[in-house]
Symmetry: C2
Subunit: 335 residues, 2 copies
DNA sequence: CTGAAAGCGCTAACAT
DNA sequence: ATGTTAGCGCTTTCAG
């Protein structure tokens, strides 16, 4: 059968608590005993039972992640899985494990309640996609260590972490200016698309602080689809005064934008520059390869993991933050 | 403080073991007592401590997944995360949780040994990408419940599950024949690319059983890159007798193939049909949208979860299997 | 049908 | 520096 701490104690001729102390590197054990006990452990091929340790310590060294992982999500939103990868790595480095729990927005709250009340995890990470008002309420009411991946689209007291899209917008604007572009246009989503809105705001700020401005007729906001972007870009290009560069709020919009530009017989980047955000696989597949502001999402996951562990260790800590890790990857769609 | 089973027992005026039996639906408790105890539980807002239960039951109701989740993996291989999603769902339905553990091939084996010897999971799932000889040896030597996601490229006694690429190849061939194509070519990876090799084999079989054959000059095997595929397709098209359809072993190869065809001024699907395997996001983005044999990978993950739990419940069960869940998604690259 | 008591394997005062 | 002992919260024989 399984060899337990008692077997080791017996074989080593010491008490169980001494073995336990060796296991946990307690200072009070003499070097000689430590070595002896460790030798016995090796001989017996002893490995402390994880369940028993967790139980005795009153901790599970475990974080659960609530996220929507329904059909095709990995294809539609690889982004999320890259965040998860970063999160897992950060947690692992700190001795925690990540439990994946797929859920929809409706069930997320009861899952969280169950986890908290049954103490089946030391903390919860929640992808913003399944975040809801009741869940936020539960989290703050129970005062349980948590972090939301992405900024919730409503006010609350929960801890969240997100990329700074405003900053990314500014990075994009600054880059284009530094490359000599002057008449910059923006194609993005409507006001409820917070990402797009923030990026737009950042672009504005970037231009403003360099003494330029984003002209109203150069801003087109619509659906985040290839088709609607095609429509908007076409309209934009049919106006009298053409921009010399277009910033697209995301990859899908960029796709339609490129179609439209090429449809008008214009060359990228010779006649007009294009750039967008996030380094999706197809940023590199479409012609020309897109210049993007890359927001290191994996790093965001890693930061989230770090913060969550900090929160667990310092329960009164409060985090609500943006992190800024964007940088430009220059490819062929800008000169 | 936390309310425990003892508090419930006291408040309900019964013994701890009675409460435990109510918790676990033991037959021997009278309906009256059950109801009474449950009422007290609700009143006290009692929730059994998960750690303690696991400890007492000697199980963790937990599966760990070993997989390479290094930088950009979610973008390079969304496929894997879709499998993981399916796996998680299947496990959850059966009362198990999925722990994610990122690793490289080298560390995977010692992670597995640790998990097994410390009993920190009831089973292990391993993505084939981190599979190795020593890991296979460990798994069979320790006789621990496991399942490998994907077929290992070496002989062993481990349990694995994979799509049947041979079958998928046949599906592709049959589809093209049924659409009226007759001169079919194949562009794929070299012999060590098992996926490509099996698909090729399936294509051959499909054609053979319909009385056709895959001509040698129509088979080009090289690197799985857009560039090499471009090269191979160009060569193929420069031969005297052109095929009327090309099957590409994967999406990257399809990309280069489409480039080459269009580079020769040929139209898809008018002059030549193209199809490939796996429904990657960019199968839909490139022009024309690709007809693919879709191998429901999420379902493969789900099956893996089901099998793994079966193995846990019936330890002497042996599984080494293909599953076949391919079907054609017809889009614009075939007529 | 219910309860007393012995564990599951490990940790952590407290005593020596 | 080491050992004694009492738990951690729940399950599970075994008696009654």
């Amino acid at each position: 059968m399984k060899v337990t701490i008692r077997d080791v104690a017996k074989a080593a001729g010491v008490s169980v608590s001494t073995v336990s102390k060796v296991l946990n590197g307690h200072y009070s054990i003499s070097e000689k005993t430590v070595e002896h006990v460790q030798k016995v452990m090796r001989e017996l091929d002893y490995h402390p039972n994880a369940n028993a340790q967790n139980f005795a310590f009153g901790t599970s060294k475990t974080i659960v992640l609530l996220a929507d992982m329904s059909q095709n999500m990995a294809f539609r939103n690889p982004h999320m899985f890259e965040i998860i990868s970063g999160l897992e790595e950060a947690l692992r480095k700190r001795g925690y494990r990540l439990i994946l729990q797929g859920t929809d927005e409706t069930s997320a709250c009861s899952y969280a309640e169950d986890i908290i009340s049954r103490n089946s995890a030391d903390g919860i990470a929640i992808h913003v996609g399944v975040m809801s008002h009741p869940l936020a309420a539960t989290l703050t009411r129970m005062n349980f260590p948590h972090i939301v991946l992405g900024m919730p689209d409503f006010e609350s007291q929960v801890c969240w972490i997100d990329n700074n899209n405003i900053y990314s917008g500014t990075v994009a604007a600054n880059f284009l200016l530094s490359e000599g572009y002057k008449k910059i246009a923006y194609i993005g989503g409507k006001s409820y698309d917070l990402g797009s809105t923030h990026r737009l705001q950042g672009v504005r700020q970037g231009l403003a602080s360099a003494g330029y401005r984003l002209e109203d007729q150069y801003i087109w906001l619509g659906e985040s689809t290839r088709a609607d972007s095609f429509r908007m870009t076409t309209k934009l290009l049919e106006q009298g005064d053409k921009p010399d560069a277009i910033i697209c709020s995301n990859n899908y919009i960029a796709l339609g934008c490129v179609d439209a530009i090429q449809g008008k017989g214009l060359k990228i980047p010779k006649d007009i520059g294009v750039m967008t955000f996030d380094d999706y696989p197809f940023s590199q597949i479409i012609e020309p390869k897109l210049t993007v502001v890359d927001i290191n999402v994996r790093d965001m996951g890693a930061q989230a993991g770090k913060f969550l562990i900090d929160i667990i260790k310092h329960p009164n800590m409060q985090i609500q933050t943006y992190i800024t890790t964007s940088s430009v990857i220059k490819r062929e769609s800008t000169r």
